[in-house]
C-alpha cells in the first residue's frame, strides 16, 4: 500500500523551505492555492508531508539538570519511532477519518496536525483556522470561568471580540451550562467540560475541525446533538478530521480515511476499504499473538460443569469467514463432573462490545439440559445472520437451571467474521432492493427490482 499523497501529483513544496515567511505569505508573498493537477479534487485543506516523530524513551522523564546529566552519561536513551514517513492530503469540505489501534500513532499525528507538537521530520500545512478537540476537551484555562474561556478560545482563533459576543449565547445554550458559565472551569464536571469544548469548537467556526474520540462522551441525548452538529458542520462545507478507534463512527461520518498501524500509514482512501484493511490488520495482529481473540475464562472454584471447547462449525480457520445471510453454527463441548440440570447461554458481541444476541438454551429446547457425568455437545445455529461486515465474538456461559448461578463462563470463546461482496455501512445487513418510481413504473423494473446481490441468502447458498 502506497502513501496516497505522493500519487496525487501535487506541486509539493520544498521539504525544508528557507523560511516561514515563504510559506505563510507573510510580507505579502502569497502562494497560489494548491489544487490537484487533474482538476477533479477540491483544494487541499490539510497536507501531511513525510511526517515522522521519534520519542526518546526512558523509564521516567528526566526533569532536572542532575537527572539529565546522569541519564545522558548512562546513555540508555532508547529511541521510539512513533510515526514513520506519513503523507496524505485532506481536501476542503471533506470529513476525513484516522483509524488505528491503540499505540498506532494516532494521537501523536493528531497533536502534530493540531500544531502543538513538532514532527521530527516532515511538516504539516493547513489552510485557514484550525480548532482541535483533543482528549475530550478544548484548550481551557482551569482558573478562568466558562465565559472567559469562550473569549480566550475566540482570541486564540483570531476572531473579533464582537463576533464572539454574537455567538456567545448559542455556545452556552448548546453546551447547556447556563448556570455555571461564570464559574471557573476547574469546578466543572468532565461532562460539562466536554460539552463546552465541543460547543466552543464547532460554533467558533474554524475552517478545519479536529475531533479526537469526543463523540464517545456525554449522555445519549447530548451525543445525538453533537452528531447533528457534526452533520451541520459538514454540510456547511467545513473540513473535519475525526480520530477514532471505533470503526463504526468513522464509517458513518467519513468519506475517506487513513489507517495507521505501528506508526506507519497502511492505507488512505475510501472509508469502507480503509476499515476492511484496519480489521484485517487487527486480525493479523491477533493471529500473530496466537489467539483468535483474547479468551477470558472466569475461574470458578468447584465446577460441576466445564466448557471444554467452543467453535464455529463452518470453515476450519481460527476465525471463520462468512457472508451476510449465512447460517452460523456454533458447537459447544461440555464436560459434566456430576449429574446436573442446567442450561447454556450464548452471547454474540460486536467489535465495540455491543451484545447483539444473548440467548439461553432452555427456551429453544423447551427444557433444561440434563447432563450425566462425561462430555456432551450443544449446537446453536443462528439462521441467516443479518450482520454487516465485522468480527463478532461469542461468549459461552454454563448456568444453573434457574439462571442465577454461573457455573462456567468463557468470554470470547470463539469468533467469526462477516465479509460481504458489496460492503456497505450501518449496523444491520437486511435484504434491500431499490427501484425507480412507485413500482408500477416499467422503467428500471424490466428485470424486477435491483437487488443487493450480496444480501440474498438464497444466492449465497447457491
Amino acid at each position: 500500500m502506497q502513501p496516497a499523497a505522493a500519487n496525487h501529483g501535487f506541486p509539493l513544496a520544498p521539504r525544508q523551505p528557507a523560511s516561514r515567511e515563504h510559506a505563510t505569505g507573510f510580507l505579502s508573498k502569497n502562494r497560489p492555492v494548491e489544487t490537484a493537477d487533474d482538476g477533479r479534487n477540491p483544494p487541499v485543506a490539510v497536507s501531511v508531508r513525510n511526517v515522522g516523530k521519534t520519542f526518546r524513551g526512558g523509564t521516567s522523564d528526566p526533569k532536572t539538570l542532575k537527572e539529565r546529566l546522569l541519564t545522558n552519561l548512562s546513555s540508555n536513551t532508547s529511541k521510539f519511532l512513533a510515526l514513520d514517513d506519513v503523507s496524505f492530503d485532506i481536501y476542503q469540505g471533506e470529513t476525513f477519518g484516522i483509524i488505528g489501534h491503540n499505540g498506532s500513532g494516532k494521537s501523536t499525528l493528531l497533536k502534530i496536525i493540531a500544531g502543538i507538537m513538532r514532527p521530527t521530520t516532515g511538516e504539516v500545512l493547513v489552510a485557514g483556522r484550525l480548532a482541535a478537540l483533543l482528549e475530550l476537551g478544548a484548550g481551557f484555562h482551569p482558573e478562568l470561568t466558562g465565559a472567559e474561556n469562550i473569549h480566550l478560545n475566540g482570541s486564540i482563533l483570531g476572531l473579533e471580540e464582537s463576533y464572539v459576543d454574537e455567538l456567545f449565547q448559542d455556545i452556552v445554550d448548546f453546551a447547556e451550562i447556563e448556570d455555571f458559565i461564570h464559574a471557573p472551569v476547574k469546578h466543572y464536571s468532565s461532562g460539562m467540560r466536554a460539552r463546552l469544548g465541543f460547543s466552543v469548537a464547532t460554533y467558533l467556526d474554524p475552517d478545519v475541525l479536529l475531533i479526537d474520540e469526543v463523540l464517545s462522551v456525554g449522555d445519549e441525548q447530548f451525543r445525538r446533538k453533537c452528531m447533528e452538529r457534526v452533520h451541520r458542520f459538514r454540510s456547511m462545507g467545513r473540513t473535519m478530521i475525526l480520530v477514532s478507534h471505533s470503526a463504526s463512527t468513522v464509517a458513518q461520518l467519513c468519506q475517506r480515511s487513513a489507517v495507521l498501524s505501528h506508526g506507519r500509514l497502511l492505507h488512505v482512501g475510501d472509508s469502507t476499504e480503509a476499515i476492511a484493511i484496519y480489521r484485517a490488520a487487527l486480525a493479523a495482529g491477533r493471529r500473530r499473538r496466537g489467539t483468535a481473540a483474547t479468551t477470558v475464562e472466569e475461574p470458578t472454584e468447584h465446577r460441576a460443569v466445564s466448557i471444554i471447547d467452543t467453535r464455529v462449525v463452518t470453515g476450519d480457520d481460527t476465525e471463520p469467514t462468512l457472508n451476510p445471510g449465512d447460517d452460523v453454527t456454533i458447537e459447544i463441548k461440555l464436560e459434566a463432573f456430576d449429574q446436573i440440570e442446567g442450561r447454556l447461554r450464548l452471547a454474540v458481541k460486536s467489535e465495540e462490545g455491543t451484545v447483539l444476541i444473548n440467548q439461553a438454551s432452555t427456551p429453544l429446547l423447551g427444557r433444561n439440559l440434563e447432563l450425566e457425568p462425561g462430555t456432551a455437545t450443544v449446537t446453536f445455529t443462528l439462521h441467516s445472520v443479518p450482520l454487516r461486515d465485522g468480527t463478532y465474538t461469542v461468549d459461552a456461559i454454563a448456568e444453573s437451571a434457574d439462571g442465577r448461578t454461573t457455573l462456567h463462563r468463557v468470554g470470547s470463546a470463539c469468533a467469526f467474521r462477516i465479509v460481504s461482496r458489496n460492503p456497505h455501512l450501518g449496523l444491520v445487513a437486511v435484504d434491500l432492493s431499490c427501484q425507480l418510481g412507485d413500482g408500477s413504473d416499467p422503467i428500471g423494473s424490466s428485470s424486477g427490482p435491483t437487488r443487493d446481490r450480496s444480501r440474498t441468502p438464497q444466492e449465497v447458498a447457491q
Binding site: A18, S19, R20, E21, A23, T24, G25, F26, N30, R31, V33, E34, P43, V44, S47, F55, K63, T64, L65, K66, Q92, K111, I112, I113, A114, G115, I116, M117, R118, P119, E123, V124, L125, V126, A127, G128, R129, L130, A132, L134, G137, A138, G139, F140, H141, P142, E143, L144, E148, H151, L152, N153, S155, I156, L157, G158, L159, E160, E161, D207
Partner: protein
C-alpha cells in the same frame, strides 16, 4: 478589538509549532497578532494571583511597605549609612528593580504553569512569558503609587523635566525582563532547576544593583583606585543604569539639602550620560531578547512531550 490573525482559508501554511519560526521579528509579529489573547492571559494573571487570599490586592501595597520598614530600620538604626530620606531612595530603587524581578520570576514558570492550555491548543507560546511581564505592570503601578505618597509625605518633588527619562528606563527594563523571561521559560520546561536557581541569581543581582547603597560609593572607589576610565565597570550590571535613572528623576538628589548631595554627585551628571547608560542596557536587553526568542523557537516544538 483585534483583527483576524489568519490568512485567507485557501492558503496552505505550516501550523503551530510544526516548523521553527523563521525569525525573531516573525515571532514578535505573531505575539502582536495575538495581543487580545495576551491581554486576557495577563488579566487572568492579575486576578488569580490574589484569588483565595484574604487581603487580596492589598498585598501589592503591604509587600513593599513592609520591605521598606525592615530595610529602613536596619540601615538607619543598625547600620547607619547617612543617606538622607533613605525610605524614599529605597522605594525608588525597589520599584524599578521589582518590575524586572517579579516579571522574570513569573515569566519563567509561565509555560510550565499553563500545561492545560499548551497541551491542548496552539497559539504562539511566546505570548505566555510576555503576558507575565505585562501583568506585572499592575504591581509596578501600585509600587509607584506608594512612592508618590511617600514623596508627598516627605514634600520632596521629582525632577519634573526629566520624567520622560524615567519612562525610558521603564521601557528598557521591560525589554530586559522580557528577554530573560522568554529564555528562562523555555529552559524551565527542560530543566526545572531554572526556577530554583533564579532565586539565587536575583538575590545576587539585588545586592549588585545600587538600591541600598549609592552608585557613587562604588564608582568613586573604582575611579580612585584604577582611574576614571574604570568607572564603566560599575555600570556592567544592565540594571544599574535604569536604577540610577530612576534615582536621578524620582529620588531627585538635586532637591536634597546641599550636605546630603555629595554621594549623588556622579548621577547628577547631564542627561546625555544617563541616555548613554540606558543605551547600553537596551542593547543588552535586545541581545537577550533575540537569544531568548531563538532558543524558545528551537525548544517549543517539544514542549508538550516535556510538560
Amino acid at each position: 478589538m483585534t483583527t483576524t490573525a489568519s490568512p485567507p482559508p485557501n492558503e496552505l501554511r505550516p501550523i503551530g509549532t510544526s516548523r521553527p519560526a523563521a525569525s525573531a521579528t516573525r515571532q514578535l509579529a505573531e505575539v502582536w497578532n495575538h495581543r487580545s489573547l495576551l491581554l486576557t492571559l495577563a488579566g487572568r494573571d492579575v486576578k488569580s494571583r490574589h484569588r483565595n487570599s484574604l487581603l487580596g490586592f492589598t498585598w501589592n501595597l503591604l509587600n513593599p511597605l513592609l520591605q521598606m520598614v525592615i530595610y529602613t530600620v536596619v540601615f538607619t538604626y543598625f547600620m547607619p549609612g547617612g543617606t538622607p530620606m533613605f525610605p524614599l531612595k529605597l522605594l525608588t530603587g525597589t520599584a524599578i528593580f521589582s518590575l524586572f524581578t517579579t516579571g522574570v520570576t513569573n515569566g519563567t514558570t509561565s509555560v510550565t504553569g499553563n500545561t492545560a492550555l499548551v497541551s491542548k491548543i496552539w497559539f504562539p507560546r511566546e505570548v505566555l512569558p510576555v503576558a507575565a511581564i505585562v501583568s506585572n505592570l499592575v504591581t509596578f503601578a501600585s509600587r509607584i503609587s506608594i512612592l508618590v505618597v511617600a514623596m508627598i509625605i516627605y514634600r520632596h518633588p521629582p525632577a519634573w523635566s526629566l520624567l520622560w527619562l524615567a519612562v525610558c528606563a521603564v521601557l528598557v527594563t521591560m525589554v530586559l525582563a522580557t528577554g530573560a523571561a522568554v529564555l528562562l521559560s523555555a529552559l524551565n520546561v527542560y530543566f526545572r532547576d531554572v526556577q530554583h536557581f533564579l532565586d539565587l541569581i536575583l538575590l545576587a543581582l539585588f545586592w549588585f544593583t545600587p538600591i541600598i547603597w549609592s552608585y557613587g560609593f562604588v564608582a568613586n572607589e573604582l575611579i580612585n583606585r584604577f582611574g576614571p576610565r574604570w568607572e564603566r565597570l560599575a555600570m556592567l550590571n544592565p540594571l544599574t543604569p535604569v536604577v540610577t535613572v530612576f534615582e536621578r528623576v524620582l529620588y531627585n538628589p538635586a532637591a536634597l539639602p546641599p550636605d546630603g548631595q555629595h554621594q549623588f554627585e556622579l548621577i547628577l551628571r547631564p542627561t546625555s550620560w544617563h541616555l548613554q547608560n540606558l543605551g547600553y542596557s537596551l542593547v543588552v536587553g535586545l541581545v537577550l531578547l533575540y537569544i531568548g526568542l531563538r532558543v524558545f523557537s528551537r525548544l517549543e516544538g517539544s514542549f508538550v512531550e516535556n510538560l
